[in-house]
Amino acid sequence: MDWIQTLLIPIVYSTILVVILLTGFAYLSYVERKLVARFTMRFGPNRAGPFGLLQPLADALKMMFKEELSPKNADLPVYLLAPFLAISTAVIGWAVFPFASRGFSVLGYSVPPVLADVNIGLLYVAAVTSIGSYAVVLAGWSSNNKYSLLGALRAGAQMVSYELPLGLTLVAVILVVGSMNMTEIIQYQLDHTWLIVLQPFAAIIFFIAGLAESNRSPFDLPETENELVSGYITEYGGIRFAAFFMGEYIHMITFGAIISILFLGGWSGPGADAVPFLGLVYFILKIALMIFMMIWVRASVPRVRYDQLMRFCWKFLMPLALLNLVVTAIVIAL
């Protein structure tokens, strides 16, 4: 029986992925605090453990031992569904990311470099990353709090708006590669060159729209502390609050991974073909670089106004992405 191959390996595989992502999230929050602190001439967390390295653990424990409150006017089922969606949908995109040139085998069973090598990989990623906006909207609506609702409305409008340029740039990538399969996209970049060279505009638009899509600064309007308290998470506390936090940070990692795969060649790099483990290292380094850039942007760019945000998306990014697509199509056809 090969139930080990078809069931057990995927189960272990995805469990490891989820665990790594959750740990990654915890340390990402540490890295971000540390980095932003350094950008602004502060020290950042440095009390818990050496260099404050135990800070995420302390935070997690604190969150877990908080009292769980549900506002009495909230729509309870939806109110509880929202954080669940926020965590669970953030990680499932990783099922189609290839991590190395080839897998390895354990006791005669092969472990593939990608959990599910499906031919609609990119479409799947685009679909699951956009489910995150449901979590936001449901959270804001169910809380029955004015701040939450306003935050959710803003977030919802922002996320769906930026999904359009995002989708259009993805189309440009598919157009060049001729496939939605993640492995083939990387293979194409191995055969030719990184897509950031072939599609610089798409890469830039994707990065900007990705920032907005994951509600990162300078597009973090939904959570503007100074006007909306915490936006859609105002009524959430304890682990449920952490859930949204988690979702957002994992979203960030996911976006780093998507950009790395689409535009930076994924696991490709010198020697990665021969030594698959090296590919994984390159992949992680590329993700780290992207995340560093996101944090860098956060530390250096002021938050935009809401009307600027929407105008920028609909009147600038959208036509630009469309133009990029049309030009790409014409170049390829001729």
Partner: protein, 118 residues
């Protein structure tokens, strides 16, 4: 092949279980001292008034509708992009017509002020 998608389903289940555990376990770890003022709606310390579920600006509906239209049109691009190299000029012209119609709608909403936020 449908079997290719089995790992995705497994990942979905694993992620969902993880989220459930993460959300349910702490419920039994924390203290529980409910009180009416604690579970009241938060409005910056003031007594909350009215419900939050009131009419919202029409702009948000507009954005939702525009998103629906444009997103569906973007989805149409996906299969087209995959086989574009085989369709060649025919595909280019067909999509040119499609994009032209899309642009008419885009110019229309722009000029009608649906994209303004004031």
């Amino acid at each position: 092949m449908p079997a290719d998608y089995l790992p995705i389903l497994i990942m979905l289940v694993v992620a969902a279980l993880f989220a459930l555990v993460a959300l349910i376990v702490p419920y039994y770890m924390g203290p529980r001292n409910p009180s009416t003022s604690k579970s009241d709606t938060y409005e910056s310390g003031k007594l909350p008034f009215g419900t939050a579920r009131r009419q919202v600006p029409i702009h948000y509906y507009m954005v939702a509708m525009l998103f629906m239209m444009f997103d569906i049109e973007v989805i149409f691009f996906y299969p087209w992009a995959v086989i574009f190299r085989q369709l060649k000029i025919f595909g280019l012209i067909e999509m040119g017509v499609f994009v032209a119609i899309l642009l008419v709608g885009y110019v229309y909403i722009w000029k009608k002020g649906a994209l303004e936020w004031d």
